[in-house]
């Protein structure tokens, strides 16, 4: 247990994103545009997890995200947990919730959709009465969250 913790550096201030399914790690990185960040980021990949078998974890120093940014993660890994760290202490724990509207995040699977043929942002809504389903604002095609592709 102690050994595992040593693998990822302790954080003075920042955000920890835990319980990321390892196959979704890079999508999380992309969604939060971590590759463009200047602060130090520690990534733990394929760590052992009692809950999930294997998981990944990301620690981002000196960065606090808005709920809007974090809730995008619900598209790829709805069960991540978030810890906000200040002075080495966990000051807040959060879960993510799928927003009712997603702009510029999910790609429409319909090749005949205008969003795949025009330089523009995609736009999806959640569907009333259908959990885990998104509907394209433009072509009305529905897509299962399990099958979404990111833009």
């Amino acid at each position: 247990m102690k050994r595992q913790e040593l693998l990822v550096a302790a954080l003075e201030n920042g955000t920890v994103i835990d319980h990321i399914p390892s196959n979704k790690l890079f999508e999380v990185v992309n969604l939060l545009h971590l590759e463009q960040m200047k602060t130090s980021i520690t990534v733990g990949y394929n760590l052992k997890s009692k809950k999930m078998g294997h998981k990944s974890i990301i620690k981002i120093a000196g960065k606090f995200f808005s709920d809007e940014e974090l809730n995008q993660l619900a598209v790829v890994s709805p069960n991540v947990t978030l810890c906000i760290i200040k002075d080495y202490e966990v000051v807040e724990k959060k879960e993510v919730f799928l927003p009712n509207e997603l702009k510029g995040i999910v790609k429409c699977a319909n090749p005949k959709c205008i969003t795949n043929n025009e330089p523009m942002k995609t736009y999806f809504h959640t569907v009333e009465g259908k959990d885990g389903v998104l509907r394209c604002h433009y072509c009305n095609k529905e897509v299962d969250l399990d099958h979404v592709k990111l833009v």
């Binding site: 319909n110 005949k112 959709c113 205008i114 969003t115 043929n117 025009e118 330089p119 523009m120 009333e128 009465g129 259908k130 394209c136 604002h137 433009y138 072509c139 009305n140 095609k141 529905e142």
Partner: protein
């Protein structure tokens, strides 16, 4: 500015649909007017559809508007790589209203978001075709005297037939009972059956198409069964004549029953039926003129009051 564009009729309230029917009735009474004198209507057909374009252009012309536009993408800049947005922005400098048909789904919604003038969707791929839906609803209302509590039978290609999908959604306010009659390969998609469930719309599915199945119909909505929709051509050969409406099948039909078809027909309705009093598909197409006059005026901010108190009537 309020966006007066018409992208889909599925979002319209019951009151709005009835309001548009009243307006279409006024235009049916007096079709030729100068109500739109001084207005320019653009018809942008990124995909050809002669029928729909003629209907819209006649609707605008008979109200005194001038019409500009193009039909074939080959003669426009859209093949030179210009975006839809750029084309719409250019045309909106010239026209008060843009009627557009596009092969891409969602094109009209997007155009309505970027355009400073209202957009009317004249069909966007397999997605929506609200003016067809409006004329279907107007035809149902005219022939039945009501939209409430009707038995609506949809026959043929219910999988790809966008007109039946739009009609289904628009009728949700009026407590219909739908009967879906289609071959296995062209069944009503689950997503529309779920829509019915969510909105408490009753429906029954059939694969047989006989005098008995349709005896309770108020509306028999026929669609084309197209060969190219089938993955299995043997299956097409087997079913193509099963969904053909023949005269003897009407022997048990209710007197008020009317046969609708979005046209063009291929072989779904036997020609002998054309003279039968249940046939309504040619009048239905004519209703498209009045329905489109109503949609054009509504998009331009002209109200039912304006139409009722119009002093520009010609005939």
């Amino acid at each position: 500015m309020e966006n007066r564009s018409l992208v889909t009729i599925a979002d319209h309230s019951k009151e709005k649909i009835m309001y548009l029917i009243r307006m279409a009735e006024e235009f049916e009474k007096h079709t030729n007017r100068k109500l739109l004198e001084g207005k320019v209507v653009a018809t942008l057909f990124f995909e050809p559809s002669t029928r729909t374009r003629l209907s819209f252009e006649t609707a605008a012309n008979r109200l005194g508007a001038r019409v500009i536009g193009f039909t074939d993408p080959k003669v426009t800049s859209s093949t030179k790589g210009e975006t839809l947005k750029d084309t719409i922005m250019m045309v909106s400098n010239y026209a008060d209203l843009i009627v557009m048909r596009h092969y891409l789904e969602g094109a009209a919604r997007y155009a309505s978001e970027v355009s400073p003038v209202p957009i009317i969707n004249a069909g966007d791929g397999a997605n929506q075709h609200p003016s067809q839906t409006m004329l279907d609803i107007y035809s149902i209302y005219k022939t039945q005297g009501t939209l409430d509590d009707l038995n609506i039978y949809m026959v043929g290609d219910l999988k790809y037939g966008r007109t039946v999908h739009s009609l289904l959604m628009a009728m949700r306010h009026f407590n219909p009972t739908f009967h879906f009659i289609a071959p296995e390969e062209l069944k009503m998609p689950d997503v529309y059956k779920q829509y019915c469930d969510i909105h408490h719309i009753k429906y029954v599915e059939h694969t047989d198409f006989t005098a008995d199945t349709i005896a309770d119909a108020d509306i028999l909505y026929m669609t084309r069964v197209q060969k190219e929709r089938f993955t299995d051509l043997m299956e097409y050969e087997r079913v193509k004549d099963l969904y053909l409406l023949k005269l003897p099948m009407l022997k048990r039909a209710k007197d008020n029953m009317r046969i609708l078809h979005p046209l063009p027909r291929v072989n779904e309705i036997e020609y002998a039926i054309d003279d039968d009093p249940h046939a309504y598909y040619f009048e239905q197409a004519r209703n498209g003129l009045f329905a489109r006059q109503a949609l054009i005026c509504d998009a331009l901010g002209i109200t039912l009051d304006d139409v009722t108190n119009d002093h520009t009537i010609i005939d």
